[in-house]
Structures are given as C-alpha cells and as structure tokens.
C-alpha cells in the first residue's frame, strides 16, 4: 500500500508527456497580453492620480450613490436567486413532469441571449404598458425605470449561476442517506433542512456569490430598464460610461478601480469557499 502510494506520488510529479514548455509559455504570454498587462495598466493609472483626484471622483456623492445602488440591487437579486434557484434546481432534479426538459434548457437562456436584447425585452415586458408591467401597475408596483426594474434584470442575469451550481450536487446526492434519516425517525421536512440542505449549502453559496459578482458589473441588460435617473437609478458601470463620454478618463478610472477592488475581494472569498468545500469532501 505505502509503496504503491509513493509510486503514484512520484509519478504525479513528473509527466512524460511532451510540450509543457511550449504550452505553458504560450498560456502565460497570452494571459499577460490580453488580461494582466491591460488590468495592471489600469491600476497604475489610478495610482498615478493621487489621493486628492481619486477621492474627488470615486467618493463623489453621485458615484457613492450609484455604488450603493449597484450593491443593494445585486444583493437583493442574489438573495432572490438563491431562494428561487434552489427550488428550481430541486424541481428539475427531483420531479418528473411534462415540460421538464424544456424548462431545464430554458434556464441557460440568460447565458446565451445577448444582454442588450435581454434588456430591451425585459423593459418591454415590465414597463407600465407591458404584459406584466400593467398587471403589477394595477396593484401599485412600478417594475421598470427604478431600482425594482434593475433588480428584475439582475435576477434574470444571475439565475443560471445558482441553478447550475446546485443541480449536480442534488443529482449526486445519495438516496440512501435520506432513507437513513427517515428510518431514524426524521420527518420529511427535517430530512430536507437537516440532511439535504447542509450538503447543498456550499454549492448554493458559491452559485449565489457568482450571481452577485456578475450582477455587480452587469451593464447591458440593466440600462434599458433602469431609467438612469441621476442620484436615483444610476448603476456604477453607467457612471464609468458617463464619465468616458465626457472625456473624463481619470474619473472613469477612479470609479473602475474602486469597483474592481471590491469584485476581486469577492473572487478571493469565492475561491476560499471552494477550497474549503473541496477539503470537506
């Protein structure tokens, strides 16, 4: 056993396959040219601004309000997606009903549909004279051109992240464990909450964080339904666009640097959670 293990360990360290040098170098070079150098240049630019100028743009009231709006709407949308995404994944893996396949395929629509197309379509459906907008309007809910509309667009964009993270875990979950819980006297509800939910939780969280981080930077699907009213329904990426249109490159860079710092911290958190999840399994 031990020698077998050692053999495998040493084998893992050295691969006899050809081409590591070429492929590794190409990977690093392409990564540097397309991603790392441009991103690095942006941070260099934002550092060269100096604190005064950075604060003037990044900490202006209009910018801070847009950041707060982006965060709250992305957070609420992620919570909605966590809840709805879990139920949808549950329904798609556990129940068999007419049209299940179609629903399953439909879940990926936000990945495939261009964001601008999603944006104008959502806006048409949820505006005051739209199919759903008129219904919601009658009960006093305005679902477009305000933060509610932004949240709807962000739910749209984030849903597949949650469903597709949870689905494989639910599929692989062993029925025997559920049976054991039942035979030990747990009710169905107890089994779901105490047995199934904890093992799904890591996937559910990482899916939700992915949906949140995507929602934070989302632009195309949001701007049509947002209304873009200054101080009220401007998202942070729109501030960057507005500053660029005014040829205020410094201002755009400052806001972008702040947004990136925030979303990179989220990425680190996500990686940490995934590593922990792997270690547990």
């Amino acid at each position: 056993m031990a020698s077998d293990f050692l053999l495998r360990f040493r084998f893992r360290e050295k691969s006899i396959l050809p081409g590591f040098g070429v492929t590794f170098t190409y990977t690093i070079l392409y990564l540097l040219v397309i991603v790392l150098i441009p991103l690095g240049a942006m941070f260099a630019k934002s550092f060269s601004l100096g604190w005064q100028e950075f604060a003037e743009h990044a900490l202006a009231e209009r910018t801070l309000l847009s950041l707060r709006l982006s965060f709250t709407t992305a957070f609420i949308a992620a919570l909605v997606n966590m809840f709805a995404g879990f139920i949808i994944a549950w329904v798609l893996t556990r129940y068999d009903f007419w049209g299940r396949r179609l629903l399953d395929t439909m879940v990926d629509l936000p990945f495939a549909l261009p964001t601008a197309v999603a944006g104008i379509a959502l806006c048409t459906v949820y505006a005051g004279n739209g199919i759903l907008g008129s219904v919601l309007g009658r009960v006093g809910i305005q679902a477009a051109y305000n933060p509610t509309g932004i949240t709807i667009a962000l739910v749209f964009i984030g849903l597949p992240f949650v469903v597709r993270s949870v689905q494989p875990v639910l599929e692989d979950f062993e029925k025997e464990i559920e049976e054991a819980a039942m035979s030990l006297g747990a009710s169905r509800l107890q089994t779901i909450v105490r047995v199934i939910l904890p093992s799904v939780a890591p996937a559910l969280f990482s899916g939700t964080i992915m949906a949140f981080s995507r929602a934070l930077g989302e632009y195309g699907s949001v701007i049509f339904i947002a209304g873009n009213i200054p101080f009220k329904s401007e998202i942070a990426p729109l501030i960057i666009i507005t500053k660029l249109e005014q040829h205020n490159v410094q201002g755009a860079t400052a806001v972008a640097a702040m947004m990136l710092l925030i979303s990179f911290s989220l990425l680190l958190l996500l990686n940490y959670l995934q590593i922990r999840q792997k270690r547990r399994a």
């Binding site: 050809p18 990977t27 392409y30 990564l31 441009p38 942006m42 949808i88 261009p114 601008a116």
Partner: protein
C-alpha cells in the same frame, strides 16, 4: 429500485405541486415572456417590414462586423483554451491554482471596465496613444478595439470548460500512445483532441454566443460610428433609443435565434457527451475484467 417504490421519500403531493407551479411561473415571467416579446415585437408590423428592417444597409454592415469580430476572437480563444488546459491538466507545477484563478479573472471584471482598460492603453490619452497616433494606427473607436474587448470578455470560456474535463481524463491514454511510438503531434491530434471533442464544442458555442452578443465592453471602445463600428447589439441599442422599436426588435430577433440555436446545440452536446462518457466507462470496466 425505481423512484415510485420509494414514495415515502417524497414530499406530499400538494407541496410538490406548489414547487412545480412556482418554478414554472418564475421561469415564464423571467425568461419565457421576454423571449416571446422579442418575436411579437419584431413581427408586429408584418413580415415585409421585418425583412426591410433587416435588409437596411447599416443593419447589414452591423451583421458583417459582428461575424468578423466573432471569426477573429473565437478561434484565438479556442487555441488558447486548448493549450492552457493541456498545460494545466496534464502537468503538475507550482502556482497551478493561481494560474486557473487568473484565467477566470475576466469573468469578475465588469464588461464596461473590460472596455475601459483598452481605452487606457490605446486611446488618445492612453499609454500608447501618442505612439499609435503618429504611426497612423487606430485601435480605439475602430475594429481592432472591438476585437480586443471581445477577446477579453470571452477569454475564459473554452479553457474553463476543458480544464476539469482533461484533469478527469488523466494522461494514461497519451502515455500509452507515446509508448506505442506515436509522435507528440500524432498523440495530440489522435488521442488528446478526440477525447475532449464534446467539451470543446460546448465551450466554443458558449464563447461564440457571448462574442456575438457582447454589449458593455464593445460599447466603450466602439465610438458608435454608424455602419462602421456598430456591432449588432450596439445597432439594437441605437434603433431602440431612436424609438424605432420594431426595427430594434427585428435585429434583436436575429440574436435571439442565435441564442436559441446555441441552447439547442448545447443540449445536443450534453446528451452526446454523457453517452461518450458512459462508453468510456464501460470500455474501461471491460478492460479491467
């Protein structure tokens, strides 16, 4: 051991009905109705108007540009994806997980920022702006900028699909090919590539859908010069903001058809990949016994 025999493991019928109704209603309101609306709006003024809108010279130019951008950016990211996945999955080296995280990085960068970073490099006020201007090369507000921004946002798609797949497959089949005397290139094209075929197609169609549909990043670097630097999504925006809704939805419907085709191919690939996986496992089991 069918599910029916284990009915005690199921929720009460009413709860099941509530869950299914919730899923159907939620997905209809969020995904179904917007999709339906794209087509009803596009054909609102009849087929003649629809084809007239699509036959417009600016629309045709935008379709051409979109195809051109995808034709450059998708193959580049395809090659990168295969090469990176090979280096990462078939070899062990320090900093591997860092490299994987760096490849995923563009996913967590807002598309608007993806456009901005190239403006900072190649724009008039950018690092290389002066040099490019005196050399007479224009990248920002021109096609090269659009291509660069598209490559950035679609950067991880193929690699991310292939890395877990190749890691799972290991390297024993390649080692066998080498020991039987295959040259490195022959090993790659006859063993490695066929094994990742389905994952590769899957990654490429998702990459292509995003490349043709990218809006935020392209919007920043395009400059919106009508008929010259407007891709299809940008053209949709321009028409929509001019209150030319039917024409906007007509162009949007083409992109929606692309999305539906993508979903169709994706589903077909998933089924084929599952079959291929089962065959591999069966062959492996027979080989062992």
């Amino acid at each position: 051991m069918t599910q029916g025999q284990r009915s005690y493991l199921h929720e009460p019928l009413w709860l099941k009905a509530v869950f299914i109704a919730f899923a159907v209603l939620f997905l209809t309101a969020l995904l179904g109705l917007p999709l339906y609306e794209i087509f009803t709006q596009a054909f609102q003024k009849g087929l003649d108007f629809y084809f007239e809108a699509l036959g417009d010279a600016v629309t045709l130019a935008s379709i051409k540009l979109t195809l051109l951008v995808a034709a450059i950016s998708v193959p580049l990211n395809l090659v990168f994806g295969v090469v990176a996945a090979y280096a990462i999955a078939k070899f062990d080296f320090r900093g591997k997980s860092l490299l994987v995280s760096l490849i995923d990085l563009p996913f967590s960068v807002s598309p608007v920022i993806a456009g901005l970073i190239y403006v900072l490099l190649f724009g008039l006020q950018g690092w290389f702006g002066g040099a490019l201007k005196s050399a007479g090369i224009q990248i920002i507000f021109a096609v090269p900028g659009i291509v660069l921004a598209t490559i950035f946002v679609t950067f991880p798609f193929v690699a991310r699909e292939l890395i877990p797949l190749m890691e799972e497959q290991g390297r024993s089949e390649e080692e066998a090919a080498l020991m039987l005397g295959a040259s490195p290139l022959k090993m790659f094209f006859m063993v490695t590539l066929p094994n990742i075929k389905w994952g590769l197609i899957y990654g490429v169609i998702l990459c292509n859908a995003r490349a043709m549909g990218e809006f935020g990043a392209v919007s920043v670097v395009s400059g919106h010069i009508r008929g010259e630097t407007t891709t299809m999504p940008l053209h949709v925006e321009i028409l929509y903001n001019e209150y030319n809704f039917t024409a906007a939805f007509a162009v949007a419907s083409l992109l929606a058809f692309l999305a539906l085709a993508t979903l169709l191919v994706k589903t077909a690939v998933e089924i084929r990949a599952r079959l291929a996986q089962r065959q591999r496992l069966q062959a492996g089991a027979e080989g062992l016994s």
